[in-house]
């Protein structure tokens, strides 16, 4: 009994020891995962095969070990580049530091084995191939959207032609029958004449057709008149194929990151090129358009993508974006008023902008559209000291209707001078 107890405890102890050893050793093996180490410590500034902020890492180990006879030098350089320059006086390292605009590499707290594992990972790195080739030229793909009116017209035309052919066939058959019976062929009449004859004989049908056609023309005419001065669905080609779907949708960049004056002023603001560069310093190539469109940004601001720095004394060029949303000169619209105070989402007026490759005008921006929204939208008056008095006054004013919550129209959203002055 006692023996078994002892052996059980030894077994348990033994297995715990093994477990501990296993557990201890597992982080050691994880340590030498060059890819993970690279991603955690190096990839903000380095790529294995391309220059980013710092040089490409491929071949660096071989180059340094050949030059300095051993791996100690490159390890010291990675761990603390400034110390290495001071203590060793290595002219190659000094030159490298100067070549990369004198930007100091952050001292990297990794051990020698770990650094070498990263460098080995870089040496064995092969870039993924399949992804880019498939979707190039995505920008050129034009979606042919079907227009229902055009289809209707096409159907009417086809119907007309089929009708004409059938009429011809029946006329010929009729004539053949007459010839067989020894009668004279009917006098030649044209198709339209026959049609006119038919309508003349069926007065009821004629009236119905005339009413339908007049109604159709009236609707078309009315729509057409209503579209005068309304730029809805306007989708001009922009100087750069910039996709909101990629930037705001897939990359999740907040609207105000670029249009930051939407919260601060009347106009939402077109981002200046330096804001494009905040990301495009690190992204010289798009998935859909390659380098073609991004090169236009570089051309506007004067960025040398090969050297990774701005060209000194470059004369910057404006990017002439085509304005889509344009309110008439007699209308005052303020973005910050709607976005900050009114807490409206950008999409309320601009539509599913995060799904648009090329932006089009989603809303019609007519006065009726403005007014509708002012009639339907509640004003959030809670947790806002400014509204406390106003809210009490409004409750008093609309006592008879028994209103507790208020729309924009109740705080003057329908007054002419709010928007026209």
């Amino acid at each position: 009994m006692r023996n078994t107890w002892v052996s059980l405890t030894t077994k348990m102890l033994f297995s715990t020891a093994i477990l501990t050893v296993l557990l201890m050793s597992s982080p050691v093996s994880a340590q030498l995962d060059g890819e993970a180490l690279f991603k955690a410590n190096c990839s903000s500034c380095h790529k294995p095969d391309k220059k980013v902020v710092g040089p490409a890492l491929q071949g660096a180990r071989a180059n340094w070990s050949e030059r300095t006879e051993g791996d100690e030098a490159i390890v010291a350089w990675v761990q603390n580049s400034q110390d290495y320059i001071k203590t060793s006086g290595d002219s190659y390292a000094k030159q490298l530091f100067a070549d990369y605009n004198g930007s100091v590499m952050t001292p990297i707290p990794l051990s020698a084995e770990e650094i070498l594992a990263v460098l080995d990972y870089a040496d064995n790195y092969a870039p993924p191939v399949a992804e880019t080739a498939a979707s190039t030229g995505g920008a050129e793909q034009v979606e042919t959207e079907s227009d229902p009116t055009m289809w209707l017209v096409l159907i009417v035309i086809i119907f007309f032609i089929v009708f004409r052919v059938l009429w011809g066939v029946s006329k010929n058959l009729d004539n053949m029958n007459r010839q067989k019976d020894g009668e004279e062929a009917k006098a030649e009449i044209d198709f339209l004449g026959a049609l006119a004859d038919y309508f003349k004989r069926n007065k009821g049908l004629t009236v119905v057709v005339i009413i339908l056609l007049s109604g159709y023309i009236a609707i078309l005419g009315w729509d057409w008149l209503n579209a005068v001065g309304v730029n809805q669905a306007y989708q001009p080609t922009q100087p750069i194929w910039f996709s909101h779907k990629v930037h705001a949708g897939q990359n999740g960049i907040n609207c105000v990151y670029c249009h930051n004056s939407a919260e601060k002023g009347k106009a939402a603001g077109i981002p200046s090129v330096n804001i494009c560069m905040n990301c495009h310093m690190g992204v010289p190539e798009g998935k859909q358009t390659g380098t073609k469109e991004i090169a236009k940004i570089y051309d506007a601001i004067g960025w040398d993508a090969d050297k990774g720095r701005y060209i000194e004394g470059y004369e910057t060029k404006p990017i002439e974006w085509v304005r889509i949303h344009n309110l008439q000169d007699f209308v005052y619209f303020n973005h910050s008023q709607h976005v900050v105070v009114g807490k409206q989402k950008c999409q309320t007026c601009h539509g599913p902008i995060e799904e648009m490759d090329e932006v089009y005008q989603y809303s019609d921006l007519t006065m009726g559209w403005c007014i509708d929204c002012h009639r339907e939208t509640d004003v959030t008056m809670d947790d806002n000291g400014y509204y406390d008095r106003i809210h009490d006054d409004l409750v008093e004013k609309h006592k008879e209707e028994g209103l507790e919550s208020f729309k924009v129209e109740h705080i003057g959203g329908l007054e002419c001078v709010k928007c026209h002055y």
Binding site: A40, I210, L220, N254, A267, N278
Partner: protein, 218 residues
């Protein structure tokens, strides 16, 4: 016969209408404008272009030496020495009150989150979906103890692949977001254990956790 003529006119009219309406749906054209003088003003609108400048660019830098109201110049230069100097000299004038934290979080979610990620791990959607090189994680060994002055300097001038954000964030917003970033920077073990429960960070956190451990072992 007059009815027939009327019918013919109707058909013709319908066809003309269809063509006219069809033409105005050209996406390249803003459509027909009646009396465009009321729409297109001779006065200059923001970004409308300005023929008084040779490049017609209307959005221009302020005249050299002009100072906005309430502006304090940031005298530290954009150099490696300036970076160290900012770290030693600058202190956050704002406290860590709930209001400032909340404001800081708002700024963070608008201006930082798409690269640095919700938890500051450097895994925002521009990195995971857009192919931007990942920024270092806030709780990594190199950034964990980064001083607030250096952060301010970095937001102002940019560092490595991060561009300058001085044109987007004013001084107050920069200090606010730094307060919030500090909460992501010094995540304690208890907090990171909580995070592993979150589905979004599940794949990232264990990796980052082992990195921390190995770094500590050394």
């Amino acid at each position: 016969m007059s009815e027939i003529k009327f019918a013919k006119i109707l058909i013709l009219g319908a066809l003309i209408m269809v063509t006219v309406v069809g033409c105005t749906t050209d996406p390249q054209s803003p459509g027909i404008e009646y009396m465009p003088d009321m729409y297109r003003t001779p006065a200059l609108e923001p970004y409308s272009g300005n023929s008084n400048y040779p490049d017609s660019m209307e959005a221009r830098l302020p005249a050299e030496g002009s100072i906005p109201q309430g502006y304090l110049p940031y005298g530290i230069p954009n150099t490696n020495e300036g970076y160290e100097m900012a770290g030693a000299l600058l202190k956050n004038p704002l406290d860590g009150s709930d209001e400032i934290m909340a404001d800081g979080k708002v700024v963070y979610t608008k201006y930082c989150v798409h690269c640095h990620g919700k938890e500051g791990k450097g895994d925002g959607p521009t990195v995971t979906a857009g192919g931007h090189p990942p920024p270092p994680s806030y709780d990594s060994q190199t950034l964990k103890n980064l001083s607030e002055g250096k952060m301010f300097h970095t937001i102002t001038y940019g560092k490595n692949l991060m561009g300058p954000h001085a044109s987007q964030l004013n001084v107050e917003e920069r200090w606010k977001v730094i307060r919030y970033v500090q909460t992501l920077q010094g995540a304690t073990e208890a907090e990171s254990a909580e995070e592993t429960g979150d589905e979004n960070v599940e794949s990232e956190t264990p990796e980052a956790g082992t990195q921390e451990e190995t770094a500590m072992n050394n």
